[in-house]
Symmetry: C2
Subunit: 263 residues, 2 copies
């Protein structure tokens, strides 16, 4: 595949802006990316000209512009999230009294795509767009359990390399995944976040490829093992519906990991 060096560099620059580090000084950013500050400057200027990046007048640092909220919304509309998906999540949130999380698989990682928070004052509250490895947490494991074995392997190995506390031995973890797949749902407590528990079910496209998962998450003192079993039927009630919607809209996630796998 032919690709543009310049655009590729420009996108690497964008990738440097994260929730953890949302603003960068010019030379600082150039060092981080191992690029000449001249080229970083020219690219940032171009972004600025087009309204994609703004330079904070007080600190001189660069930040992502509102344009990304606009484009983010184009994607959201395209995926029919506010129109079709959110109402369902809202109903589950009201029915269970806990927050509802839609997770998708993207490039061998799990990503919170949408969260509808419960009305309670103590509730699970996280920002969407957060990525993490697929071996952590119910919402992610339930996805991993339905991925093809070779990708599972790759991801588990990655976890072992990084000494993930969720993985004891490779064999025991594979047994766990098999169990999750057979059971069709999973419950965890204090895994991704301290004192937070979650029940998750997998979501598929019409060809039964895993797309993501739907979870109910809340404080572990309220969302106990027993409570999770009471919540499960409510989640399952909407499973087919969610599968149908996600299959209708174009869901890029599946393609991404397949491509990765081929290369």
């Amino acid at each position: 595949m032919l690709s543009s060096k310049t655009v590729s560099k420009a996108l690497s620059i964008l990738d440097a802006f994260t929730a953890e580090k949302p603003s960068w000084g010019l030379r600082d950013l150039a060092r981080y990316l191992d690029m000449s500050h001249t080229i970083v400057h020219r690219i940032l200027s171009t972004f600025e000209e087009k309204g994609y990046i703004v330079q904070n007048t007080e600190t001189n640092k660069y930040e992502l512009g509102i344009k990304f909220m606009e484009l983010g919304n184009v994607v959201e509309e395209n995926l029919k999230i506010s129109e079709m998906i959110q109402p369902i999540m809202k109903r589950i949130a009201l029915g269970t009294g806990e927050s509802v999380v839609l997770t998708i698989v993207d490039n061998e990682e799990g990503l919170y795509l949408k969260i509808v928070e419960s009305e309670k004052s103590v509730r699970f509250s996280e920002s969407v767009g957060k990525r993490s490895p697929l071996y952590i947490g119910a919402s992610h494991k339930v996805i991993l359990a339905h991925l093809p074995p070779d990708i599972q392997n790759k991801i588990i190995d990655h976890g072992i390399e990084n000494k993930a506390r969720q993985i004891d031995t490779k064999e025991s973890f594979q047994v766990l995944l098999e169990f999750i797949k057979k059971q069709g749902w999973f419950y965890t407590s204090s895994e991704t976040f301290e004192e937070v528990a979650a029940v998750s079910i997998p979501l598929f496209d019409k060809k039964n490829n895993i797309l993501g998962s739907l979870s109910v998450a809340g404080p572990d003192y309220r969302l106990t093992d027993e409570q999770a079993k009471k919540i499960l039927p409510i989640l399952k009630e909407y499973q087919e519906n969610m599968n149908f919607i996600l299959s209708k809209v174009f869901f890029p996630s599946r393609r991404n990991y397949l491509m990765n796998n081929l290369s």
Copy 2:
């Protein structure tokens, strides 16, 4: 200001993806942008490689990737929207029973930055990220009324050119703007959207530059002129608070239109 031709082209391509036209065929897009399909293809490939754009496997058309939802969220976190601003808007929504809209000025246009919907089944519901000229609707006019006269002029002229039904004569419109500025709020009915009414107050930074507006919007049969006057105190109650928050976070909008004005 030195800028990169290639990156500039790449961003023009991104600009083509809107809520109205969220997916493009290669040659169709190239024609629209008046560019060679070769270069559009190379740039799209680069975007795809980096996860910024995905090609729909069924239609072969290109669409924005989930990456934009991620970056959009970085901006949202940076602006402290979910953390500081949304709770206030939610309180107003509960207090008034109607939807609450945060509008900002960006590049001489109004932009819905955040909407918190009311709980009623008939309510104002629109997608954020929508742009429109500043002479339409209460939320926009209340901003226009506080912009410097030369920018006002430019925008009004633009409206007259496009035969906007909101502008009768330039003089009468300027009188209206002066009235709005003096009054400190404004109410309109069926202007931006049919059968939708709104009350709006302006929002400023610490130097009293206009940043945007805060509005309550609902169906016109419920949100009448008299009802608006009852709602106004609730809005005003939070005005200082919103000004303070928006001044604290870096708000790029002001800078944008000042830059435009200089050029």
